[in-house]
C-alpha cells in the first residue's frame, strides 16, 4: 500500500494539482501509513483516525487559488458550489473550513465535514479529500475538488469583479503558462486507419497517455473509443486515461454480449455519435479553459436556471458548438451527435468530444486547438478587464 501512496503523490505532482513540498497522503490498513510532507502529517493523522475511510490526501494547490477565492467570497460562505457538471454530479457542494474553525489538536470541524462530503477546502492548508475504498479514490476526489476550485475561481475572475493587482500578481505563474500554447505534437501518434485489435489498443493507450500528459483531462474522467466494423472498443468506467491497457471493453453494436457493462458511462454518447457520423474514433476530455468558456453565457432574459442540463440552445466557442447535457443516460447522447459533424463539440460545463475518421491525431489536434484558443482568449479578456 505504501507503493500506492508514492504513486499518487507522484501523480499529484505530474498533473500539477499539488505542490510537492505540501502534499501528504495517508492510508489506514491494519495500521496507519503515510507519505509526503512531514508538516501536514499531524493534521492528516488527526483527521483520518477519526474517520471510517481508507485514505486521505492533504495538499496545497500550486497556486493560491483558495486564498483568492476566500477573499472573494462572503465571510459567512460555507460551501463552494462547483460550476463544472461532473464535480457537481459526484461531489455536490464542497465545504469550506476557515482557519479559526480547527487546529491539529481539535480538527473536529474538518472531521465532521469530511464525514459528510468527499473533499473540503481548508484555509491555509489547501484541499483534504478522502477515499472510502482505495488510495486512488482520495486522489480522484482531490483532483475533482481542485478542478472545481480552478474552474470556479477563474470563471469568477472573468464575470465578477475584475482581478485586483494583487490577484494578478498571485496568478502570474499561471498567466505566464497561458502565454505558451499546448504543443501540437502529433507525428509520433499512431497513424490510421486503425483496422485491427492490436493497433486500436495501442493507439488508444498512446492517445490516453498524451491527453493526460497535456492536462486535457482531470483525474480519471474522460474516455476514448474506436469503432471497428460492428463493434466499439471503449475505455472502461473509472479508468485513468494514462493507464488503459487491460481497461478497454469491446462492445458489439447488436448487444449480443453485455460484458461491456463496465464500459464508460459515455458509451451511450459514443454509440450515438458513431451512428450519426462517419467518425471512427472519439476522444473525450475536460480541458479546463474550454470548460470555463463553455460556462460563459451572454443570455440575459433566459429563465432556465439549471443550464447544464436544461439549456436547449446551441452556443458557439468560435465555430465550435456548445450544448447542454447530463452525464451517462442524461442527455449528452441526445444533444452532442447532431452538432458534432465538424469533428468537435463542447458540453456545457463538462468537456469536449472530438472525433476523427482515421486515427486519434485529428481529435487530439482539434481539442488542443480549441483549448489553446480558450487559453489565449482567457488571457486576453482577463488582462483587459477594467
Amino acid at each position: 500500500m505504501i507503493r500506492q501512496l508514492r504513486k499518487y503523490a507522484d501523480k499529484l505532482q505530474l498533473d500539477g494539482s499539488a505542490l510537492p513540498q505540501q502534499t501528504a497522503i495517508l492510508a489506514q490498513d491494519d495500521r496507519l501509513l503515510s507519505f509526503g510532507a512531514e508538516a501536514l502529517l499531524p493534521l492528516g493523522q488527526a483527521v483520518i483516525e477519526r474517520l471510517n475511510v481508507v485514505s486521505l490526501v492533504v495538499a496545497a494547490p500550486p497556486l493560491p487559488l483558495l486564498e483568492i477565492l476566500l477573499r472573494r467570497l462572503a465571510e459567512d460562505a460555507q460551501t463552494l458550489i462547483p460550476q463544472d457538471t461532473e464535480t457537481r454530479t459526484f461531489l455536490h457542494d464542497i465545504p469550506l473550513v476557515r482557519k479559526e474553525e480547527f487546529s491539529i489538536e481539535n480538527p473536529q470541524r474538518i472531521v465532521e465535514l469530511l464525514g459528510q462530503r468527499k473533499g473540503v477546502l481548508v484555509e491555509e492548508v489547501g484541499i483534504l479529500a478522502t477515499g472510502s475504498v482505495t488510495v486512488e479514490q482520495a486522489y480522484i476526489n482531490y483532483s475533482s475538488v481542485y478542478h472545481a476550485l480552478f474552474v470556479k475561481l477563474l470563471l469568477m475572475l472573468l464575470v465578477d469583479a475584475p482581478p485586483t493587482a494583487i490577484e494578478l500578481d498571485l496568478l502570474q505563474p499561471l498567466l505566464k503558462q497561458l502565454q505558451q500554447p499546448i504543443p501540437l505534437r502529433l507525428d509520433d501518434l499512431y497513424r490510421g486507419p486503425l483496422l485491427g485489435k492490436t493497433a486500436i489498443l495501442e493507439a488508444i493507450d498512446q492517445v490516453g497517455k498524451r491527453t493526460v500528459e497535456l492536462k486535457l483531462v482531470d483525474s480519471f474522467f474522460g474516455n476514448i473509443s474506436c469503432r471497428l466494423a460492428e463493434q466499439v472498443f471503449i475505455s472502461q468506467s473509472a479508468a485513468s486515461l494514462d493507464a488503459l491497457p487491460g481497461c478497454i471493453d469491446l462492445v458489439p453494436n447488436d448487444n449480443s454480449s453485455t460484458a461491456g457493462i463496465t464500459a464508460s458511462s459515455e458509451l451511450i454518447a459514443h454509440r450515438a455519435i458513431f451512428a450519426q457520423t462517419a467518425a471512427s474514433v472519439i476522444l473525450h476530455g475536460h480541458p479546463k479553459f474550454t470548460v470555463i468558456f463553455s460556462l460563459l453565457c451572454e443570455e440575459t432574459a433566459c429563465k432556465i436556471s439549471d443550464c447544464w442540463k436544461d439549456c436547449d440552445k446551441i452556443r458557439y466557442l468560435g465555430t465550435v458548438p456548445v450544448v447542454a447535457g447530463e452525464v451517462g443516460a442524461g442527455g449528452i447522447a441526445k444533444n452532442v451527435p447532431p452538432v458534432i459533424g465538424d469533428g468537435i463539440a463542447v458540453v456545457y460545463g463538462h468537456g469536449v468530444f472530438a472525433t476523427g475518421n482515421d486515427d486519434f491525431r485529428q481529435p487530439l489536434a482539434t481539442m488542443i486547438t480549441l483549448e489553446n484558443w480558450c487559453r489565449r482568449e482567457y488571457l486576453h479578456r482577463l488582462t483587459n478587464r477594467k
Partner: protein, 579 residues
C-alpha cells in the same frame, strides 16, 4: 419524530394475542430500522433454536420506506437461520414493506407457535389472526391469489411448511426473502402468510432538502453504466452479469470445479431478451425496474439463479432454468441453495442432474419426499451425511453464490467474514473488483482488502437498515442517502454516522454468532479454493488462492475490527455497552 411511527406490533401465535408496543426512540435513531432494528430486537432471543416456539420472526421496515426515496420500499426479515444457525436477516422489496409502513408499524415481532395454520392480518387497527387450514399446502401463487384482494401478501409455500432449511418467504409481487431458510421458521410457527393494508402517510421534515437529495441520486443513477447504461441492469436485469462473469472466468461451474461454462451464452441477458422480449418490473416506486418477466407475467430469473441452475449443474437449457426458478418461487425455496445442493449432490454421486430431472427433484425437496428429504437439508448437511463434507461449497453452512472466490480476492475474504455465511451482499466487493464502482480494485490482490471489506460491511449494514437496495449504490453513495434520512427525520445524519451505526450492527451480529459457538474456524472457505485452480485461459490466470496470504489478510481484518487473533471480542461485556 418523522420517518418512524415508533410502533411495534407484537404477535404471540401460541396464545393468539396481538398488541402494539411503543419502540424506544433511541433504538430507532441508533439502529434505524430493517436489519438493525431486527438485530436489536433479537438481543434476548438469539440463542434460541430456530424452530423453538419462543424465537421471534421479525419483519422490520426502515425510516425511508413510505417516502419517495429511491429503492427504499423494502424491509428486512430477521431471526436465526435453520440452515446456518447464525443470526440472519434478509432484505426484500415489492409492495409489502410500503403497505406495512402504511399500516402504521415499523416492525412486527412474531413469537409462539399456532396450533393450526393461520394468516396474520395487519391494519392500522392492529393485528388479527385468521384461520388458514385451507391454504396449508398451497403454492405461493395460490395463496397470494386467495388473499391479495385485501392487501399485500408475504407467504410461504410447501417448502416452508415442511421446514426445508432453505425455504423462503415470498412477497406477493414475486420478490423473495430469499436466503437462510426464514420461511422454515415461519412454517414452524404454522404461519402461512401475512396480509397488510393501510394508508397512513410518512411525513418528511424538510421537503426541499429531500427533493434535492433525490434529484442528486437520480442524476447519479443516470451516470452509472451498471444501472442505466445500454448494457446495464435496467435493460437486462442482473443476467447482464452472465457475459461479464464468463469473460472474467469466475462463473462457478459444476460445483465450482471450473470457473467458465462454454454454453453460458444460452442463458445470458441478451439470450433471455431474444427469446422472451421481457417486460420490466420493479419494487414499489423504484426507478430502476431491474426485474424482468415474460409477456405472460412469469418472473424471469436473476443472475445467481441462471448461473446456479445453469453452469453450476452443467445445464444450458434456458427453458429448464426458468422453470426451476418458477418452481422455487411457487414452492417457496431459495434458488441459490436449491441449485447448489443439487450440484454438491451431483458431484458426490458422480453425475449432475439433467435439465429434465431438476423440476421433479425440486418438488421432492419442497415436500421432503424421497431423495428430496436429504436435499432439503442444504449442501453442507447432505455432504456430511454422504461422507464428503469437503464438497459443500459453503461458508458457515450458506452455499456460495455465483462469484468464484478465486476470481476476486476481496470476495473470498468477504464470504468468510459475512455474519450470515457465504453471502456476496454483506460487503459486495463485486462492486469494485468487477463492476469498477465506485472505483476499481485489483481482483487478484489481497492488498488493502481487509479494510475495504470492513468499511463496506459497515456501509451495507446501514443500507440494510434504511432499508435501501444495494443496486442504488452502483451510482449513489451514503452521502446522498444520509441527506434523505436527515431531510425525512429532521435528525442530522452523515455518512460517517451511518457507518458507525452499521459497525454497531455488524459487531452485534458477530457477538451473537460467537456466543452461539462460532469461531475463526468458521471464517474459512472450502479447501477446494486453496487447492484447485479455476479455469485459466484468454490471458487470465485463475490460480488457487494463496492460503497464507488469505490468513494474513483475515488476521488484518480481525485487528481492524478490534477483535483478537481468534476473531473474538476483547471485552466480554461488549454487548452490554451498546444501546
Amino acid at each position: 419524530m418523522n420517518g418512524w411511527h415508533g410502533r411495534l406490533l407484537n404477535v404471540d401465535l401460541t396464545h393468539r394475542r396481538t398488541w402494539p408496543e411503543t419502540l424506544p426512540a433511541e433504538w430507532l435513531q441508533t439502529y434505524l430500522g430493517g436489519r438493525g432494528l431486527g438485530i436489536r430486537l433479537m438481543r434476548d432471543y438469539y440463542q434460541l433454536d430456530p424452530y423453538s416456539a419462543e424465537i421471534p420472526l421479525i419483519f422490520a421496515v426502515g425510516p425511508l420506506c413510505g417516502t419517495p426515496a429511491p429503492t427504499a420500499a423494502r424491509l428486512s426479515v430477521v431471526s436465526r437461520s435453520p440452515l446456518t444457525a447464525t443470526i440472519y436477516d434478509c432484505s426484500a422489496g415489492g409492495r409489502f414493506a410500503w403497505r406495512l409502513k402504511a399500516a402504521g408499524f415499523d416492525a412486527v415481532k412474531i413469537v409462539g407457535q399456532s396450533s393450526a395454520p393461520v394468516v396474520l392480518k395487519i391494519t392500522p387497527q392492529g393485528g388479527e389472526l385468521l384461520p388458514a387450514e385451507k391454504l396449508w399446502g398451497s403454492t405461493v401463487g395460490a395463496t397470494v391469489a386467495q388473499l391479495d384482494s385485501q392487501g399485500s401478501v408475504a407467504a410461504i409455500g410447501p417448502a416452508g411448511e415442511n421446514r426445508v432449511r432453505f425455504a423462503n418467504i415470498m412477497m406477493g409481487e414475486g420478490n423473495s426473502v430469499g436466503r437462510g431458510g426464514l420461511g422454515a421458521v415461519m412454517g414452524a410457527k404454522q404461519l402461512k402468510a401475512l396480509l397488510v393494508a393501510g394508508n397512513l402517510k410518512v411525513e418528511i421534515t424538510d421537503r426541499e432538502r429531500f427533493d434535492e437529495a433525490r434529484r442528486d441520486i437520480l442524476r447519479l443513477f443516470k451516470a452509472s453504466p451498471v444501472i442505466y447504461g445500454d448494457l446495464g441492469i435496467a435493460e437486462y436485469g442482473t443476467p447482464a452479469l452472465v457475459d461479464l462473469m464468463t469473460q472474467r472466468r469466475m462463473a462457478p461451474t459444476e460445483n465450482f470445479r471450473k470457473t467458465i461454462f462454454a454454453a453460458a451464452d444460452q442463458y445470458s441477458g441478451p439470450a433471455i431478451r431474444r427469446q422472451y422480449q421481457p417486460k420490466n418490473h420493479g419494487c414499489y416506486g423504484c426507478p430502476i425496474q431491474c426485474k424482468k418477466s415474460t409477456q405472460d407475467g412469469t418472473p424471469l430469473p436473476e443472475y445467481e439463479t441462471v448461473n446456479h441452475f445453469g453452469a453450476l449443474n452443467g445445464i444450458s437449457d434456458l427453458r429448464s432454468i426458468i422453470n426451476s426458478n418458477n418452481l422455487c418461487n411457487q414452492l417457496g425455496m431459495d434458488t441459490i441453495t436449491a441449485a447448489a445442493s443439487l450440484s454438491a449432490w451431483g458431484e458426490i454421486r458422480g453425475r449432475f442432474p439433467r435439465a429434465e430431472e431438476v423440476g421433479p427433484l425440486l418438488e421432492k425437496i419442497a415436500l421432503r419426499s424421497g431423495k428430496g428429504d436429504l436435499l432439503a437439508e442444504g449442501a453442507q448437511r447432505l455432504s456430511r451425511q454422504l461422507g464428503k463434507p469437503g464438497l459443500s461449497m459453503s461458508v458457515k453452512g450458506l452455499e456460495l453464490p455465483a462469484y468464484d472466490p478465486r476470481g476476486a480476492y476481496g470476495m473470498a475474504l468477504a464470504y468468510c467474514t459475512s455474519n450470515r455465511g457465504g453471502c456476496h451482499l454483506r460487503a459486495y466487493p463485486i462492486s469494485h473488483e468487477i463492476l469498477r464502482k465506485p472505483v476499481p480494485t485489483d481482483r487478484f490482490d489481497f492488498a488493502g482488502k481487509a479494510r475495504i471489506i470492513k468499511i463496506s460491511e459497515d456501509c451495507n449494514a446501514a443500507i440494510d437498515s434504511l432499508v435501501a437496495c444495494k443496486f442504488s449504490f452502483f451510482g449513489a453513495s451514503l452521502e446522498e442517502y444520509a441527506e434523505l434520512l436527515t431531510a425525512t427525520t429532521g435528525i442530522e445524519y452523515s455518512p460517517q454516522k451511518l457507518k458507525e451505526i452499521g459497525e454497531r450492527i455488524y459487531l452485534t451480529e458477530r457477538f451473537y454468532n460467537l456466543q452461539n459457538g462460532f469461531s475463526a474456524a468458521d471464517d474459512q472457505l472450502p479447501s477446494r479454493f486453496f487447492n484447485e485452480a479455476g479455469s485459466s485461459g484468454d490471458g487470465i490466470e485463475v490460480p488457487p488462492i494463496d492460503r497464507l496470504r488469505f490468513d494474513e489478510e483475515l488476521q488484518k481484518y480481525y485487528r481492524i475490527r478490534g477483535l483478537d487473533e481468534q476473531g473474538f471480542f476483547v471485552a466480554d461485556n461488549w454487548l452490554e455497552q451498546q444501546p
